[in-house]
Amino acid sequence: MPIDNYIFLSLALFCIGIAGVLTRRNAIIIFMCIELMLNAVNLLLIAFSKMHHATAGAVNPDAGINGQIFVFFIMVVAAAEVSVGLAIIAMMYRNTHSVDINFLNRLKH
């Protein structure tokens, strides 16, 4: 599969994620959009990993494996982030009974 298919697919997913962040006010949905962005990156990384493997696999059987390892770490970090993020959102909900990010705007200017 040509790599640019993956590139543009990932970009599309990524930008949908960004558009989601921009258009939604629900903190949880925004967070999910960010997760979508991360997944787009993951897909791109794995595609690149296989691309590099296709190029250099003959010389080095492990070529490209680092991309997949990176994805693994992204998932690890994402998991940690989710736990913290949801805790923060929950805390906010506890205080305000809302997950609207615009509900809180004491801090401005």
Binding site: I18, V21, L22, R25, I101, L107, K108, H109
Partner: protein, 630 residues
């Protein structure tokens, strides 16, 4: 001689220092004595120098005192130049100065002791400055004296500083002089630029090598300086106002000495003027115009000192006319005779004012002849001298100038004679109104009338003597061959510059003299009886009003220069400074504050907006990247 020439200015300086610093502890008589004696000492030393200079075969000497300014090729020595011209002025200054100091000891009696000492210290400082002026061997020393006399004039005009008008007159004198100095200074810079030195001797030696245009510019600038100091058009208006000072000051500074500084300076620079015919013409025309303008104004003045002041301006005009036509010796001669008769006239006026308890308006005088006999006689001699009636001194000097002027251009002569006639007219108007007829002042004044003390009358007598006889120092060639002592004396300095009387036939000269003398006598004959019987007491009308109001020159200056300048200053102060420049500076500050207020609305507090701005930022960066790749 080089050993003691410095004593001449030193004595007055010492007098100034003693009187100035110890004025609180000196009694009146002591400070008066100090002030007078130092001038007398100077006079004695000057006389000694004079006799040396007079000897045959004398060469001008430069006496260095110390090195004054040294920077690059500018090397100004504090040095004195002794030659016939400077010595002649030394004698006038110290001689007349001594008499006036003496006169002052009596005239200023009513001042408190410190003020009295202050007065004498100023007077001494003036003499010191004036001596520097004429002794200086280069333009810097000349300029030091030049400014120094201006300062003393300022201080003395404003001597009675509590009167705002007197202060204003002092200020006006100083500033008018400064305007002249502006030209003088630039002339000095130009001289230095052209010759690389400011020494008279050096400059005059090199002068012929410089282009006429340059010399013309320099001489015109020097003349600007001279018009300031010597009260010529257009800078003459300060001199009549300067009469605010004590009368002896008017006699010394504003008649006999300081105002002739301009004549001295031009005579000193005559080598340059000879090379610049255009400048000479300008000088002559200015002089002629001043003669007529000042004389006309004097006709309608009622303040005794004002009349004399305008007459001074007018007489100075004669001297400039002389300078302008190249008759330097004659101009200096007129300086000499004028010093005597004008100092005399002023001192007489002082005596009158003294007797009249400060009254200066001639309309309140009249018939003083019987109360002030000495003053009356001496004043009359002064009038005769200034009117140019033979054989009084004024006749010789004035006629020599007029003759020389005729040689240059008969028009000068015509105007000069007209001026002489007007001079005779107003002087005798003054004389008749003051001394003849009947007394018109108040009872109290009449009761108080008395002849002045000896200290005042003695100088009058001495001056009257010289005013009557000084003319014989420079008898024109037509009277007697080689009788012109002054011309011979000044020959080494002013040689080559002297007018060419030879070009005029002696018969013409006789005729010219006759015309002017006759005209003057006719005028005197008309004026004397007219003003004795009918002194002019009512307000003048028409042209007379214009003349009385000095042709509104002061008002014109005010409207043309002072007011616009003040308006410009106000505009700068109120608009440019506060609004434009400060406004720009503060505006920058305000702009920052304004941007700050606006920019902070970017910080809307909403995550969505923040992310959007970040995305826009990214997009922009990529756009830049795309452009860079292209």
């Amino acid at each position: 001689m080089s050993n003691y020439v410095y004593l001449v200015p030193l004595f007055p300086l010492i007098g100034f220092l003693i009187n100035g610093l110890a004025r609180r502890s000196l009694s009146r008589s002591l400070s008066g004595a100090i002030g007078t004696v130092v001038i007398g000492a100077s006079f004695v030393v000057s006389l000694m120098i004079f006799f040396q200079v007079k000897q045959v075969g004398f060469e001008p000497v430069t006496v260095p005192v110390f090195s004054f300014i040294q920077a690059g090729k500018l090397n100004v020595a504090f040095a004195f130049l002794v030659d016939p011209l400077s010595v002649l002025f030394l004698l006038i200054i110290t001689g007349v100065g001594f008499l006036i100091h003496l006169y002052s000891t009596a005239y200023m009696k009513e001042e408190s002791a410190p003020d009295f000492a202050k007065y004498f210290s100023y007077l001494n400082l003036f003499v010191f400055s004036m001596l520097l002026l004429v002794l200086g061997s280069n333009y810097i020393i000349l300029f030091i004296g030049w400014e120094g006399v201006g300062l003393c004039s300022y201080l003395l005009i404003g001597y009675w500083f509590k009167n705002i008008d007197y202060g204003n007159a002092a200020k006006k004198a100083f500033i008018m002089n400064r305007i002249g100095d502006f030209g003088f200074l630039i002339a000095i810079f130009a001289l230095f630029n052209e010759f690389g030195t400011l020494d008279f001797a050096e400059i005059f030696k090199q002068a012929p090598t410089v282009s006429t245009a340059t010399i013309t510019a320099i001489t015109l600038l020097l003349f600007v300086g001279a018009t300031g100091k010597s009260a010529q058009i257009p800078l003459y208006t300060w001199l009549p106002d300067a009469m605010a000072g004590p009368t002896p000051v008017s006699a010394l500074i504003h008649a006999a000495t300081m105002v002739t500084a301009g004549i001295y300076m031009i005579a000193r620079s005559h080598v340059l003027y000879n090379l610049a015919p255009v400048s000479q013409t300008v000088v002559a025309i200015t002089g002629t115009a001043t003669i007529l303008l000042a004389a006309l104004i004097a006709v309608k003045q009622n303040d005794i000192k004002k009349v004399l002041a305008y007459s001074t301006v007018s007489q100075l005009g004669y001297m400039f006319l002389g300078l302008g036509v190249g008759a330097y010796t004659e101009a200096v001669f007129h300086v000499l005779t004028h010093a005597f008769f004008k100092a005399l006239l002023f001192l007489c006026a002082g005596s009158v004012i003294h007797a009249m308890s400060g009254e200066q308006d001639i309309r309140s005088m009249g018939g003083l002849k019987k109360y002030l006999p000495i003053t009356h006689i001496t004043f009359l001699i002064g009038c005769l001298a200034i009117a140019g009636i033979p054989p009084f001194s004024g006749f010789f000097s004035k006629d020599e100038i007029l003759t020389a002027a005729y040689g240059k251009n008969p028009l000068y002569y015509v105007f000069g004679v007209a001026g002489a006639a007007i001079t005779a007219f107003y002087m005798f108007r003054l004389y008749a109104t003051t001394f003849l007829g009947s007394f018109r002042g108040s009872e109290k004044q009449q009761h108080h009338l008395h002849e002045s003390p000896l200290a005042m009358t003695l100088p009058l007598v001495v001056l009257a003597f010289f005013a009557a006889t000084a003319g014989f120092l420079g008898i024109p060639e037509v009277f007697a061959k080689h009788a012109n002592w002054l011309g011979q004396f000044l020959e080494p300095v002013l040689a080559g510059g002297a007018a060419q009387p030879e070009s005029i036939a002696s018969s013409t000269e006789w005729l010219l003299m006759g015309i002017s003398t006759g005209l003057v006598l006719v005028v005197v004959g008309y004026a004397l009886p007219r003003f004795r019987k009918h002194p002019e007491l009512e307000e003048p009308r028409g042209l007379g009003k214009w003349m009385r109001d000095k042709f509104y020159v002061d008002e014109i200056y005010d409207a043309l220069i002072v007011k616009p300048l003040n308006a410009l200053a106000d505009f700068f102060n109120q608009v440019i400074e506060k609004k434009v420049i400060d406004g720009l500076v503060n505006g920058t500050g305000r702009l920052v504050q304004y941007s700050s207020r606006q920019l902070r609305y970017l910080q809307s507090g909403q995550v969505g907006a923040y992310v959007l701005l970040m995305v826009i930022g990214m997009v922009l960066l990529f756009v830049v990247q795309l452009f860079l790749r292209k």
